[in-house]
Symmetry: C2
Subunit: 231 residues, 2 copies
Amino acid sequence: MSLFYLPTISAGVKYLDEEESRHVIKVLRMEPGDEFTITDGRGFFYQTRITSIKAKKCAFEILEKKQIPKKDSSIHIAIAPTKNSDRIEWFVEKAVEIGIDEISFVLCQNSERKTINLARIEKIAISALKQSQQAWLPKLNSIKPFKELIQDGADQKFIGYVDEPTSISLKSLALPQKKYLVLIGPEGDFSKEELASAIGNGFKKISLGSNRLRTETAGLVACHTLQIINS
Amino acid sequence: MSLFYLPTISAGVKYLDEEESRHVIKVLRMEPGDEFTITDGRGFFYQTRITSIKAKKCAFEILEKKQIPKKDSSIHIAIAPTKNSDRIEWFVEKAVEIGIDEISFVLCQNSERKTINLARIEKIAISALKQSQQAWLPKLNSIKPFKELIQDGADQKFIGYVDEPTSISLKSLALPQKKYLVLIGPEGDFSKEELASAIGNGFKKISLGSNRLRTETAGLVACHTLQIINS
């Protein structure tokens, strides 16, 4: 089953954009009368039927509308962009597939990359949303300074820190059905000052297992650990 | 800390190969007297000291040898190679980082790719082993027919199956401290006959959550779920 993404459907738009229309006509070879599903990325699935196919514009009517309630828990990962941007893009794809609610990018003292292409990140997230057949597109935030991110008001706030044998595992510290924020640092880890100021703002140091994980792997492992605790 | 991989160290070899020697000299700029750690990938870490640096050959002496015991549980994932081989290579890198014991590749009725470059897979696994600072290189098996793989004698055997609302989650079925085998199918899933013959051989159908996961994501999610149950 193909799922299409059309955020403007809730505002009354009843045709797919040029790129998705081309996919319907050229790849799926659909015709008027054929049905497909659309999500607005805000919790709704629409069952629709093609009414007309004009050049570059596939129009449809809505047959049924189904609401997927938002979960009580929410997973927000704030991660430092990796030097190689493929790696952070891979994190976004996989975290969306598995199920994440919010992704932020954090600028740290040891960050090797200080920018993020948010338009590209959004495209990857939408593609993963459609692939994994979900109705809620995660919130994607642009890059913010570390100091700003640690002001966040989540129920449980964690900071991954590698060189800290005293850290307790995320699995033992996370309680079910909460709003979580997990900070994941860059290749060179958070600085001692950043760690101290996060702890001063209510964050707990966590370990993600005994192996040394890359930034993007740590982000995904944190996301999936919280998923498991809440499933 | 850089970790080097030298499987022949246990047979008495006391110098790094050309590529690793170049890394020590040109990138890390080490000199005689400097120390580094080597693993044989079979459970040992060796603390070593450079004795001489000749062209393309870095010789060392062993200062200390430390054994990392093998875990009681073991995770074996048998996965269908993905059409795009980047995706299966990504799975190998991440599964090794997180901690997997054995990887097999399975040839199914709906497989779109029927071969695997095992030399390249091994290189990726070694690189992930060094990166994540581990002493046990997972066993890597070449591609095998589905019928052969389902003869395996693991304690708990699972098969991921997408279009089966009756599947129970891996998290609920997996018991701690066992030897597990999980079969993960290709883009087109296992066939009904394959599913039936796996079940006839003691496999249990599992679900990996409500989202539709790509092959490589399903493999990693299965691996990490079992890791969490055993940590």
